[in-house]
């Protein structure tokens, strides 16, 4: 740090002055995480099982890297940030909140959150939660089916993937697609886009969102941008309705009676996966229970 007109500061010690610093920074595969706490879990401890979903995401890039340089939309929201965290992996709402766009755009998304779906909700602990859509994509068994397209429509991307991973592995990656994961507290990856949730005050948040872009995937990147621009941001076919619900629910929550919400959906069919994480049907509130269980721990420890 320097002083303007320094002769006026003679005898002043510069050490310890200057802007505040983020005490701890850690990088996982290009994602930079900052913690404002001087002590706490390492990034590996914090991410835990969620690391696998970041790996899954980056495997969809032929270079193993993202290139997030197309700009973020900033969606101002009169609601507490936790409404967003809770909704990002809520599979009960899409069939109702998004029925308008599913109806007019012939989207297959609705089926992922219907009663016949084999997709899962998963609670990774530490407030990280996801939809695991892979059971549905594996049933479909079509490379890029997760993205509503086929390999012949994105030839350059498919070629780059085959060269990078070999045909067998590339085939599996392109069947499984990208994750849908809420990484606590503020990073949300939703198949084709990435959000950062910024709390402003108790009743205001900003949803920053950009299209996922794979370094070395020009043809898929264009489609990722087009679809992201259609779905999210202030005018998005999806997020404008989600945001309406955040704001309505925030206003509704000011009425203190009843005091509690029921979050029991799917409790009877919740089970552990092979890694010991809670899973249930894609519309079950395993994810919301996981978030609040850990949040309670964080706030009372």
């Amino acid at each position: 740090m320097g002083f303007a007109l320094p002769e006026g500061y003679e005898g002043t010690e510069r050490k310890g002055l200057g802007l505040g610093k983020v005490p701890r920074i850690a990088v996982y595969r290009g994602f930079i995480f900052g913690s404002m706490a001087h002590d706490g879990p390492t990034i590996e401890e914090h991410l835990g099982g969620a690391k696998a979903s970041l790996d899954q995401l980056l495997d969809n890039s032929p270079t193993g890297e993202l290139d997030l340089t197309v700009g973020f939309l900033q969606h101002r929201t009169k609601a507490n940030w936790k409404f967003m965290v809770e909704n990002e992996t809520d599979g009960y709402h899409p069939g109702f909140v998004h029925s308008s766009i599913f109806q007019v755009a012939q989207s297959g998304i609705a089926n992922l959150y219907g009663s016949e779906s084999t997709a899962l909700t998963r609670d990774f602990g530490n407030c990280h939660t996801e939809f695991d859509l892979r059971p549905e994509w594996r049933k479909l068994d079509t490379p890029l089916g997760w993205f509503g397209t086929t390999a012949d429509r994105l030839p350059a991307y498919v070629k780059a993937m085959n060269e990078a991973y070999g045909p067998d592995r590339a085939h599996q990656i392109m069947i499984d697609g990208t994750p849908h994961i809420m990484i606590f507290p503020n990073l949300f990856i939703a198949e084709i886009q990435l959000f950062v949730i910024q709390p402003i005050s108790v009743d205001e948040s900003i949803q920053h969102v950009t299209a996922l872009q794979f370094k070395g995937g020009e043809d898929i990147n264009r489609r990722l941008r087009q679809q992201t621009m259609g779905s999210v941001g202030p005018a998005g076919f999806l997020l404008a309705d989600d945001t309406e619900m955040y704001e309505r629910n925030h206003r509704g929550s000011k009425i203190r009676d009843p005091e509690w919400l029921v979050l029991t959906r799917g409790l009877h069919r919740e089970r552990l996966d092979e890694n010991g994480f809670r899973i249930a049907h894609s519309t079950d509130e395993t994810t919301q229970r996981g978030i609040w269980r850990h949040y309670l721990k964080l706030m009372t420890e």
Partner: protein, 182 residues
């Protein structure tokens, strides 16, 4: 009321249909352009979705940039970047009655002002104008301001909208949900 006011057909003062925009006097052209923009504003304010959709050409571009006014919508994120087909989806979604952010609909009144004609050829005219929109909805009251750019095209004797760029003055900042027709 004369025919030129009750329909959207462009006519010369003597009643002849307009075939070349360049044949109009500057005053006539400005009048016809203004009437078209006011009509578009009214259709938007009153949520007359079908009539508004019918204003667009088949090669239409409807663009609301983000993060500045000179971004490339083909490579950068925009708040809205619709071709004709996506305009159609937007309208269909609004008409389902389950576009929750527009249920109830925003109450709107907008002013279109500072209308300037930048260039004209026989079939197309490029126009700029400012818009100020007052929105009232369940969240509260919001004021929107934009510097707009339009390309209008003469089609079957009436103007159609070939291109509209809505340059929100605060598009580099977080903005509330923008789900009415802007």
């Amino acid at each position: 009321m004369t025919a030129s006011h009750s329909t959207s057909l462009l006519r010369h003062d003597d009643g002849r249909a307009v075939e070349q925009l360049s044949a109009l006097s500057p005053l006539e052209l400005h009048h016809h352009v203004s009437q078209f923009l006011f009509r578009e504003a009214r259709l938007q304010d009153t949520h007359a979705y079908d009539e508004w959709e019918a204003l667009w050409t088949d090669d239409a571009i409807y663009w609301v940039p983000a993060n500045g006014h000179n971004t490339d919508p083909e490579t950068q994120m925009s708040i809205l970047y619709d071709n004709r087909s996506r305009i159609g989806i937007r309208i269909k979604q609004l008409k389902t009655g389950r576009r929750h952010t527009q249920t109830p609909r925003s109450e709107l009144a907008r002013l279109i002002s500072n209308i300037e004609i930048l260039s004209v050829n026989s079939q197309e005219v490029d126009v700029i104008a400012n818009a100020m929109i007052f929105e009232d909805n369940m969240r509260g009251e919001t004021l929107w301001a934009s510097r707009n750019e339009y390309r209008l095209r003469l089609h079957d004797g009436a103007f159609k909208l070939a291109r509209k760029k809505v340059g929100l003055v605060n598009n580099h900042k977080p903005i509330f949900t923008l789900s009415f027709l802007v």
